[in-house]
């Protein structure tokens, strides 16, 4: 790292917000510790095949930033790591980090994937929403960065007391290293950027839509992965029967009533899914069930109009129930004038609300910053800026603060970096 006189900055979360904030800080000459919970960088954005409104390929778009991050000597990337304790104040925070062992050497591994096949363990791949399997030594998806696997100690036989070393034997680079140990790090940092992202609303809480009950009811994130060329089906869309869907319903605002807020990006995300389906299956009939169309800003209305022109139906209604009707799914809905109707389709996609991550309460406590009733980190002055918290030197960026799109997330990351660089002169 740079022998700067200044104390480093801590960035928590290596999604798009954490990456952008780290790069700006590092390029200014500051040292940065970037702490990431998982074994890869890129967060949720790299799960998307394409992103609205210009349908940029998300992984291609983010890859140069990821490469720049991995090559930047001012950034110390701590993966498989979590913040355990924080004390002190602006200019002089002490942070305790628990860094779990990866058991694969980042320097020696060349990412050839020879270790995957011999591993006898198969488990659901959480990155793929459980739609495909992975081994106990794995990278989450093709193209993930860094291109170095990690060993999942919950499932690896060796960590269950068995004598397996299949992966180690398969690696000719001696990169698999069972002697690695979990570490505890004590860091001194000047300021902190919290960019821990979001998760989707738990669809098991809304039983009326038949999620996990009927096989052709999907969450939007599952469909994102199914549409992804590096996903479980290499981008092919099938029903459980193996046929292509002929009719699809996309239900907006799932969980909005329960959460009590609008998740801001779901209307656009739903339009994007329609666009994917129309591109892959031009004859498919798509119906969107929505209450209010929220497509704010200069760029989104045009995308809506393009999707509408591709013959997508929009029904303003409340879906009351999804049920099985023969081979199809029946959607019961009620329009604003009180009329009830039913539509049958092959496939249903539920677009759920965004929520803060489950562990954000613990982090809020460590940081001593408040959360709102839903668990999003609270900013100090909501009417003025979304990045400053009540603790001087602690900033929040991206969906950990509230649901928002990629542009707003990146702007907040840059804003947090700007606020820190401005404060610490």
């Amino acid at each position: 790292m740079n022998k700067g006189q200044k104390v480093p900055v801590l960035v928590i979360g290596a999604g798009i917000a954490g990456i952008e904030a780290s790069l700006l800080l590092a390029n200014s000459g500051r040292n940065v510790y970037l702490v990431e919970r998982t074994s890869y960088i890129g967060g949720n954005v790299i799960k998307f095949e394409e992103v609205f409104p210009n349908m940029d390929c998300a992984t291609c778009m983010v890859a140069p930033k990821q490469q720049e991050l991995l090559a930047n000597e001012n950034i110390k990337l701590l993966m498989l790591s979590q913040v355990e304790a924080i004390s002190g104040s602006f200019g002089d925070f002490s942070v305790k980090i628990k860094k779990r062992a990866r058991y694969v050497d980042l320097e020696n591994c060349i990412g050839c994937s020879a270790c995957f096949d011999p591993c006898p363990v198969e488990v659901d791949n959480e990155f793929e929403e459980g739609l495909s399997k992975r081994k106990a030594i794995y990278i989450p998806c093709a193209g993930a960065l860094p291109n170095v696997p990690a060993i999942d100690t919950e499932n690896c036989l060796r960590f269950k007391g068995q004598e397996c070393q299949a992966c180690q034997e398969a690696c000719i680079f001696e990169a698999v290293d069972f002697t690695q140990q979990d570490e505890e790090l004590e860091l001194k940092v000047e300021a902190i950027v919290v960019a821990t992202g979001f998760k989707s609303f738990d669809l098991s809480k809304t039983t009326q839509y038949g999620y996990k009950k009927f096989s052709d009811v999907y969450s939007a994130m599952e469909i994102e992965r199914i549409c992804a060329s590096n996903g479980p089906t290499q981008g092919q869309i099938f029903l459980q029967s193996g046929e292509s869907p002929k009719s699809v319903a996309i239900i907006h605002c799932v969980g909005r009533e329960e959460k009590g807020y609008c998740s801001s990006i779901c209307c656009m995300a739903s339009l994007k899914l329609s666009h994917f389906f129309k591109k892959k299956l031009p004859e498919v009939k798509i119906t969107q069930f929505y209450s209010d169309l929220c497509i704010p800003g200069k760029a989104y209305q045009k995308f809506y109009e393009e999707v509408k022109e591709s013959k997508v139906d929009f029904i303003r209604a409340r879906v009351t129930e999804v049920s099985q009707s023969g081979k199809e799914l029946a959607i019961k809905y009620k329009t604003e004038d009180g009329k009830e109707s039913t539509l049958t389709v092959d496939m249903v996609i539920l677009n759920p609300a965004l929520e803060p991550r489950a562990d954000s309460a613990k982090l809020a406590e460590l940081l001593n910053i408040p959360q709102d009733k839903d668990g999003f980190f609270s900013e100090k002055e909501p009417d003025l800026t979304s990045v400053a918290t009540i603790q001087e030197g602690i900033f929040i960026a991206g969906c950990a603060q509230g649901p928002k799109d990629i542009a707003e997330t990146v702007a907040e990351a840059e804003a947090a970096a700007g606020a820190i660089l401005s404060l610490s002169r």
Partner: protein, 565 residues
Amino acid sequence: MAKRIGVYVCECGTNIAEKVDIDQVIAAISPLKNVEVIERYKLLCSEDGKEFLKQSIEEHGLTHVVVAACSPKQHEVTFMNVCEQAGLNPQLFQLANIREQCAWVTPNAEEATDKAIRQTRAAISRVLYHDPLEKKEVEVSPDVLVIGGGIAGIKASQLLAAPDRKVYLIEKTSSLGGKVKSFSKLFINMESGFNLIEQELQSLVENENIEVLTESEVEQILGFLGNFEVKVVKKAEDKELNFNVGAVILATGFDLFDPKGLPQYGYGKLDDVYTSLEFEEMNIPDGPTNGKILLKSGRPPESVAIIHCVGREEKDYCSKVCCLYSLKFTSMLKSQLPSAKVSHFYSDLCVPGKSYQKFYEDTKELGVEFVRSAKTEVIGSGKGITIKYETETGAKGDLAVDMVILLTAMESSSDARKFAEMLNIPLDDKGFFVEEHQLLSPVASAAEGVFVIGCAQGPQSIAESIVQSEAAAGKILSALIPGRKLELEARVSEISESFCLGCQTCVDVCPYGAITFDETRRVSVVNEVLCHGCGNCAAACPSGAAKLKHFTFPQIYQELKEVLR
């Protein structure tokens, strides 16, 4: 000097060696001219491998190096650094990709080996034509020009100004504060916009590193990142100021759509139809009505209609904040006139984010009617006003009211075009400044060193505008460090003065505004600070005058010749 090329073939463990017959590759390239040494190595990118490479370069006194290994994305920089450590100009190096482009993708071993031979020969052939390009550095100014004295410009100035960084804040009107100073309340905490601006101005005055120039117009900006020359005219004093800055922030704000062009809303014809800004002004304590909400007749309204999305269809975008400030208006109306009947006519309620739905629900509890209307008209009836509306299902209704507030679309500021032309940056089809990348670079413009923030870039809330101020400050504080020089890309374009015909095709195709036309010499000139080495000019130039360093015609020809032979 004799050319002495070293060729190093990496086995990449078994990744290359398993598919590519490296002995055959070595046999095929051994007879080539200028090849001084050929070595194979198990894993060149390892620490041992790099040390081996360095020693070998030194030992054989090599003038050029070719490594046949993986993708340049993976290790080009790694091996260029080794060359540099061995005292060789790193540009005199070429990487042949025989892993991703051969071993990993070509199932047949013979074909893979043949491809690897071609790739390696191509690299050898090319590297002889490489020039030892040197990296250049330029001095930069850390100072910043901020155009527009609204809340976005004020905040950006405060964040940037420091003893080693001066900020010039230019405002065309006589006072700072933009539109926010006329907002008596800000959503959602209903604090005074006027007071906010007063506080900000106080700290602005105290900051000696900010030079505020009101009633001033920017006449000219020439230059590029790190080195802009600015000419400003102080209109009142008729005085011209010239200074240099390293970056420019455009915070020129927005205008409101003029509803006079839409006769169905009765604006300008009916007495008590107001735009949202006019309603804001009515609520300022020392405004024309001393902060009282009054009809033209002087009495307070008993019923008010708030009409959403005025001009949305014409502008073809959602202005993002109107639903939110309509709730603010409701709250202002209800706190001053608790018994007034307030009705919203809207199509879709857009209250994105974690806080606004609650704001909506709290407002609704004050006793407000929300009417979803697909078509809304404002018609004069006697002394009063009637709202005629039609729901999405075609049901019609009407409502008599005293006062109408039109939530008019936000549009780009009338100044936007002037600055777009001055700085050679694009506007979108709606007239807003375009970001460098809509998602990944939301506050930078296509011109490096020029930033676009706040509503000049698109409709947004005050908080979002301030976030963009902070973001632009972040980008500038990260890139322009007082005392630090800017390191330039070595692989940039150059235009031969003797071959240039002056057709200016290159000027049109350059996406970075890096090429200008020298009128006196009648030739195009590349600015190396702005050039990113994309090669558009070299491809488009009809006379062959434009060339991209490190991707010259002879270099590419030599490479292709060997791949295709």
